[in-house]
Amino acid sequence: MRQSTRSWLVIGLWLGVVLLAVGSISQTRFTSDMSAFLPASPSEEQHLLVEQLQEGGISRTFLLGISGGTAEQRAEASRRLQARLADEPAFTAVQNGGRAAVDASRAYLFDHRYLLSPDVDAERFTAEGLGEAIERSIHQLNSPLGDIARELFPRDPTGELMALLDDQSADQGPSRCCGVWMSGDRSQALLVARAAAPGSDTDGLADARERIHAGFAAVREGVAPDLQLTVAGSPAFAIDARDTIRAEVQWFTTLSVLLVASVLLLAYRSVPVLLAGLLPVGTGVVVGIAVVGLGFGEVHGITIGFGTALMGEAIDYSIYYFVQSRDADNDRTAERAWRADYWPTIRLGLVTSVIGFAALLFSGFPGLMQIGLYAITGLLAAALVTRYVLPVIGRRLPRADIAGLGRAMAGPVRALPRLRWPVLALGAAALSAIVFAPGERWRDTLSGLAPIDPALEAADGELREELGASNPRFLVVLTGPDREAALRAAENATPILDRLVAEGELAGYHSPTDILPSRATQLARQQALPTAEELQRRLEDATADLPVSATRLQGFVEDVARQRELEPVTLRDLEGTPLWLAIAGQLPGQAGENAVAMITLRTVAGTPPTDIERLSRALAPVESAVVIDMLGESNRMYAHYLQTTRSIALAGAVAIVLLLLFVQRDPRRTLRTLLPLALAILFVIGGHAMAGSALTLLHLVGLLLVVAIGSNYALFFQGRGGGSLDPRTLASLTLATLTTVTAFGVLAFSSVPVLQAIGASVAPGALAAWLLAAVFSDRTRQPAEETSG
C-alpha cells in the first residue's frame, strides 16, 4: 500500500515536471543561426569581428550574377531584376550600377561638392586660388572631354566635381557595360542585394534568397529564357550550411533512431519495453530544452541535435535497467538488487559524464555552452527517470532475457585480458603516431566547421573579385564615443596611410571619409567659403585676365552660397545611392559603448603578407587606431577557444580522476578504470593522425562523449565489490555499445563536417572503450563460468 502511494507520487511528480517543461518549451524561441557557434568574444577586435560576421553588411549582402543570353539581354535582366527587388521590403538596397543610381549619386555629390571635395579650403577661394582653378578648368574645356566639362563649367568653374569623382574612382568599382555592372569579360551582369534581415536571421535571409530567385524567374520570362542566375555572398553560405546541416541531421538521426530501435527491439522483443526505454531520453530532451530555453533565452536547433546525441548515454541507462533488473524468477527482488548493486555504478558514471560535459559550459562558444547545459540537465533528468520512474513502470513490463547473450560472450571476453600487453604496445604505437605523424594534429582555423559547397565557393570568389568587394583582410579600425569621433580619427589616419602608399608599403586604402568626411571637416570647408558678395568681388578679380567674365558664373556664386548654409551630410542622407553601399559596411552601427569606422587596406600584390606590427607603429599617433588582420584574427580567436576548451577538458579529466580515486579508494582499480578510457582516446586520436585528418573542436566534443559512455563500461567491468560480472551486465554493456556504435557510426558518413567529426570519434571510441574495459577488467570480475550464471 505504501509502496503504491509512493509509486503514484513518483509518476505524478514526473508527469508534472514534464508538463511544466513542455509548457516552458512552448514559450521558447528556436533559432538556427550558425553564428551561435562563433565564440562569444572577449577582446574589442574579436567583438567587432563577430559582430561583423553576425550582423555586419557583409553577412546580409547577396552577390548576384546573371549569365547567358546576349550582353544586352543580361543588362536588361539586371535592370528589371533591380527594379523588382528594390520595391520589396525584404531588401534595403539593390544595386546593379544602373544609370539612375549613378546619376543619383552624382547629383548628390554635385549638390554637396563644396562640403565633400578635399580641395575646398580658404586658399582655394581667394582671388588667386579661384583664378588658378578656373584657368585649369578652361584647359579642361579645351580637351577631348571638353563636352562633359562644358556643361558643368558655369556652375562649377573650379572643377570640384571632377576632383571629387577622381578622388573616389581611385577605388575603382566593377566594370560596366550597357549601363550596368558587368564582369570584366562581359559574361555576367552583376548585382548586389542587401537583405533587410540581419545576418543572424538565417530564415529571413533564406526568404530573401527565395524572392531573388522568384524575381529572376519572372524577369527571365520577359527577357530571354536562357539567362541564368548565380546567387552567392556570405548569406548564401549561411543558408546552404544551415540547410545541409538540417537535412543531414534529420536524415541521419532518423536512420540512427531506426537502427537503434531495431537493435533494442531484437533484444527486448517487446514494443512497450522499447517505448518505456525511451522515457529517460525523452524526459531528458524535454527538460533539457526547457532549461536551455530558460537559461539562454533561445534554443539553437543544433543544440538539440548534438545535445541529444550526447545524451545517447541515457539510452544506455534504460538498457542497463531493463537488462540488469530482469530476473525470470523474481522481478521484485531483482529490482531491489539492481538498485543496490548497479545503480551506484550508473550514478558514478553519470557524475563522470556530467564533469566531462561541464567542459562545454566553459568553451566560450554560446552554441557549445548550450549543448553542454542541455546534455547535463538532460542526463540528470534521464538518470532520475531511470532510477525512480522506470522501476514503477518496468515491473509491469515482461521482456526477453538476454542473459544468454552475456553467457555466450563470457568465453571470448574472458580471453580478452590476455591482450593486455599487446594493447599497451598498441597504445604506445598510437602515442608515437600522434607525436610523430606529419601534419597538424589540431586544426585551429575556423574553416571546415561548416559544410561549404565548392561550386558556391568558386562562384562567390568570382563575383566578389568582379564586384571589387573582396572581403578585405586587413582593416584599420577607429573607435570613438560617437560616429563623428570615429570619422575624425579616420581623417587623422588617412595622411599616414597616404604616406605608406607613397612609400610603397600599401597598394591603397578605402576610407569612409573619402565619401563622408566628418562633420567637423565639412563645417570647416563651409567656413572656408566666402559670402556671396565677397565671392562675387574675388571672382571679378580672379577673372580679370581670363577669357571668362564673372557675370556668366552666377550659377557658381549661387551654388556656393547655398552649400554654405547646408546641414552637413550624414550617412543617412546617402541612403539609396551607391555612395551609401560603398561606405555603410565600414561604418557599422553603434557597437556597445563605441562607434566604429573602418578603413580597408589593399596590400601590395606579390609581396609578403603585410606586417601588422609596422602598420600599427606607423598608425600609433592616431590614438584609437587598431590594425586587424581579419583572417588571422578569426583563426587566432578559434585557436584560442580550441585551446581553452582543451584545457578545460583536461581539467575535467583531472576532476574525474580525483573523483574516482575518492570513490573507489583503490588507486589500482582507478588506474584500471581509467586506462581503457585513456587508451580509447589515444586510439581515436592516433587513428586520425594516421589517416592524416586534423582534429577540430567537434572531435573534442566527440571524445568527451567517449569518456562519458566509456566510463560506464569501465566502471561496470571494474565493479564495486568483488564478485563476478554476471551475464546480464555483460549483455547490457554489449547492447549499449552496439546501439552507440550504430547510432554514431552512421554519422561518420555525413558530409557535414560537424556530424562527421562527432561520428568518426564517438563510434570507434565507444567500441574501443568497451573492448579495452574488458581487457583491463578486474580479474575477480571476469565473467562467471556458465555454471555459476
Partner: protein
C-alpha cells in the same frame, strides 16, 4: 540557251557596272561602305570651340586614329597633350598622368561627340541610327553632307544637331568637317585633313 537566261547573262555585267558608279544618287549604305572601305587610318585635325560662357574661342589640334569597326583614338597635341580612346563601349581618357574610364552607356553627353565621330569615320551608321535621325544630301561639288538630329528628347536637350561634310572619291569617302551645335548655342567645329591611309 533560253531567252531569259541569255538576257540575264548580258544584263548582269551591266548592272554591276551601274551599281559601282558613284555619280548616282548617294545613299546612306553606299556612304557607310565607302567610309568603312578606307580601313584603319589616321588624320590630323583642328578643333575650334565657341562657348557662350567664354569671350574667345578655344583652339586645339591633334591627330585622329581610327580602326574599324569600333575603335577611335583622339590624340590631342595642342594646347596640352591628352589622349582619348574609344573602344567598344569604353571611353578611356588619359590626361595629367591620370586615367579615367567611362562607360558609354553611362555618359551619353560626354560621349556624344566621340561616338558620332567614330560612327562617321568608321562608317558605322547602324550605331549612329540608334541615337540620331540621319539625313544625307549631296553637295554640288560631288561631296556629301550628313546631318544628325537627336531622336531622344534627353539628348536633344543637349545637342541640337551634328553636321558632317565630306568627300567621295571613287569608292572611298572621307569626312572633312564635323560641326556640333549644342542646345545652348555652343558650337564645336572640327576640321579633318584628307586621310593619310595607315600612316601614323
Amino acid at each position: 540557251m533560253s531567252a531569259p537566261r541569255l538576257t540575264f547573262a548580258i544584263l548582269s555585267p551591266l548592272l554591276l557596272l551601274l551599281s559601282s558608279l558613284p555619280a548616282q544618287a548617294i545613299d546612306l549604305e553606299t556612304l557607310a561602305t565607302a567610309l568603312a572601305e578606307r580601313g584603319a587610318g589616321s588624320t590630323a585635325y583642328r578643333q575650334t570651340r565657341h562657348l557662350g560662357v567664354l569671350d574667345e574661342p578655344l583652339h586645339s589640334s591633334g591627330r585622329l586614329i581610327f580602326e574599324p569597326p569600333d575603335r577611335l583614338i583622339q590624340e590631342q597635341r595642342e594646347p596640352e597633350p591628352q589622349r582619348l580612346m574609344l573602344a567598344g563601349e569604353r571611353l578611356v581618357v588619359e590626361a595629367d598622368g591620370r586615367r579615367r574610364e567611362i562607360d558609354l552607356a553611362d555618359s551619353p553627353r560626354g560621349a556624344a561627340l566621340a561616338a558620332s565621330l567614330r560612327g562617321v569615320l568608321n562608317g558605322r551608321f547602324d550605331a549612329l541610327e540608334e541615337d540620331y535621325e540621319l539625313d544625307l544630301d549631296e553637295r554640288h561639288d560631288g561631296g556629301w553632307r550628313l546631318t544628325l538630329l537627336p531622336r531622344d528628347r534627353g539628348l536633344a536637350k543637349r545637342i541640337r544637331r551634328i553636321e558632317i561634310i565630306g568627300s567621295l572619291d571613287g569608292d572611298h569617302a572621307a569626312a572633312e568637317r564635323l560641326t556640333m551645335e549644342f542646345a545652348n548655342g555652343d558650337r564645336s567645329v572640327m576640321h579633318m585633313q584628307p586621310a593619310a591611309r595607315d600612316t601614323p
